[in-house]
């Protein structure tokens, strides 16, 4: 398993695409830093209250995180989708799996290697963005480790799903389906937000079930709420307490993900990887 993980990391490091992504992330962070710097200095010269500036920056940061979580999900899908399918299609798997290695070890090795790459890329880029924003604007989110961990876990969830699909589908199919499921899960979360707004006025209508089902099928949206929660200033969370409409904002979270949800996320990944191992074991090469 470790051999395969090392091989996978080596593969990613030698492929140009990952370095292009890293370069793009650095460039995006640099541009964001420059933009926020301009915005903050303009606001300060015009005499805007510091609290308002901090709130504005936190909202921009959340919006950037939203964009980046999508990029990370896409990266995870397109790292995972070809990982098994390409090896099988090209005959690489024939040479590898004729060796005394369990198919499940090969699969876990692939997962582990890609997970290391993904977490390094995702958490690294996000940390850089938070540090740059903090430096130019003075706004540091109340939690840094939390949002990074949730963001990285989102990537791992999509990675696991795409690896499962990769044991049976061609790379493009596995990648596309992973992204679509990810999108649907986010949409289910958004519908739930709308539902909360409706329920606040009319308690008979309850759309929360949509979000709950969405999160159960793919836990990415719940994790995304965790990212938001960690990035918002504590004062906003305190101000929103008790207001049912606050939860309706898709870019706002009143609470971090529950322990139950986090346990489910772990169980979900184990289930998906177990299914992937069964699927690969039964596959004829």
């Amino acid at each position: 398993m470790i051999t395969i993980a090392r091989l996978t990391i080596g593969e990613a490091a030698r492929r140009r695409i990952l370095w292009v992504l890293v370069a793009l992330a650095v460039l995006a962070v640099a541009l964001t830093g420059w933009g926020i710097d301009r915005l903050v200095s303009l606001a300060r010269t015009s005499g805007t209250a510091e609290l308002t500036i901090q709130l504005g920056v936190s909202q921009i940061l959340i919006f950037i995180a939203f964009q980046f979580s999508f990029v990370l999900a896409m990266t995870a899908a397109f790292l995972g989708a070809p990982a098994i399918a390409n090896d099988i299609e090209s005959g690489i798997a024939l040479a590898l799996l004729a060796r005394p290695i369990r198919r499940s070890s090969y699969l876990l090795g692939r997962w582990l290697g890609l997970a290391v790459v993904l977490v390094a890329y995702g958490a690294g880029s996000a940390l850089l963005a938070i540090l740059v924003v903090s430096r130019v604007s003075g706004y540091t989110p109340p939690s840094i480790v939390g949002p990074l961990a949730y963001l990285a876990t989102e990537g791992l969830v999509v990675l696991s799903l795409s690896l499962l699909l990769s044991t049976r589908l061609p790379p493009i199919g596995a990648g596309a389906i992973s992204v679509v499921i990810y999108g649907l899960s986010w949409a289910a979360g958004a519908i739930e937000r709308v539902g909360i707004a409706i329920t606040a006025r009319n308690p008979d209508v309850n759309l929360e079930i949509v979000g709950q089902v969405g999160r159960a099928i793919l836990p990415t949206d719940g994790l995304w709420r965790g990212v938001i929660y960690g990035l918002e200033p504590g004062v906003v969370v305190a101000a929103a307490a008790g207001n049912p409409l606050a939860e309706a904002n898709p870019f706002f979270a009143t609470a971090p993900p529950t322990l139950g949800f986090l346990v489910w996320t772990g169980v979900w990944m184990i289930l998906v990887m177990t299914l992937a191992a069964i699927s690969l074991r039964r596959r004829e090469l």
Partner: protein, 309 residues
């Protein structure tokens, strides 16, 4: 199933069905240590399927057997098997030496001693100068040479090569024959899957001819080729005339050459005299075995005739 000592592959009635297609129907064969065993058959005969079953890459739907004394597909047995797949690729971004290193890792080969072992393997397959080159830049022939090298990493007790020379030029093919012989000489069993008859004829100690998933002939080259046959190049012979030679052996006439199977060498002059007496002109007489190609075609056609009937 109890396997007698020295048998590296011992399978009985091995079957594989893909949906409605019966790819292998009752394969029975044995391969011993220290021999090169040719597995010969037309395209689609089930050769590659058989190899995949032996390695556990594909699951059998029937039959049983052992490889290196362990049940088919056993993981530990695979530690001592080197395999060159028919259609394969190595990670294009790895260098040749790194490919060898990866496979050495997978079989748990100790780190010490790898360098000289890899040098020897690369030398053997003619890639001594290319150890540091990325595999992505290799020609098909070089990939195949490296594939053979990978199959030899760790001195396996069983080397399975599936069409190892399909991308090689005549020099490469000759090199491969030398490599196979040296593997045999150190005591390994070699299973050579091929549809190249001359290759099998030149290098194999024993062979099996397989068609439509069953072995239709098995044994040493001599056993499979069977009787000796005498070929006489003639002019002016009519088929009824050829039939009159039946008392000497089993005649067969293709319009140009007359073949007589089981003709004792001492009777050759009498046959020639008989032909001359019939007014036939005799140009050439050659005594020897039937070629493997002729025997192969005869066996496969015969088998297909039987199955059709």
């Amino acid at each position: 199933m109890i396997t007698e000592p020295g048998l590296v592959i011992d399978v009985a009635d091995l079957r594989k069905r893909y949906g409605r297609v019966q790819a292998l129907s009752g394969l029975t064969m044995t391969v011993r240590a220290g021999e090169i065993f040719g597995f010969l058959g037309p395209n689609g005969a089930g050769k590659t399927t058989a190899v995949k079953l032996l390695l556990g890459l594909s699951r059998r739907t029937g039959g049983q057997g052992t490889v290196l004394g362990r049940p088919i597909g056993d993981r530990e047995a695979r530690r001592r098997i080197g395999y060159l797949p028919e259609l394969f690729r190595f990670q294009p971004w790895l260098r040749a030496r790194e490919v060898l290193d990866l496979h050495a890792d997978l079989i748990g080969m100790p780190r010490s001693g790898r360098k000289p072992a890899f040098d020897a393997v690369l030398e053997l397959v003619g890639l001594a100068e290319r150890g540091g080159t990325a595999v992505g830049g290799f020609s098909k022939g070089m990939q195949q040479r490296l594939g053979i090298g990978v199959a030899l990493v760790g001195d396996p007790a069983l080397v399975i090569l599936d069409e190892p020379t399909s991308a090689l030029d005549p020099i490469g093919r000759m090199d491969v024959r030398g490599i196979l012989r040296s593997a045999r000489d150190r005591g390994a069993a070699v299973l050579l899957n091929s549809h190249l008859l001359t290759e099998v004829e030149q290098v194999c100690d024993r062979l099996a001819i397989v068609d439509r998933g069953v072995v239709i002939a098995e044994g040493s080259l001599g056993d499979v080729l069977g009787a000796r046959e005498t070929r006489i190049r003639v002019e002016g012979l009519e088929p009824p005339g050829a039939a009159r030679l039946a008392r000497f052996g089993t005649p067969r006439f293709d319009g140009r050459d007359l073949f007589i199977r089981d003709l004792p060498e001492a009777q050759v002059p009498e046959v020639v005299a008989e032909l001359v007496g019939m007014g036939v002109r005799v140009h050439e007489v050659a005594s020897g075995r039937e070629s493997l190609e002729a025997r192969f075609l005869e066996l496969v056609r015969g088998h297909r005739g039987d199955t059709a009937a």
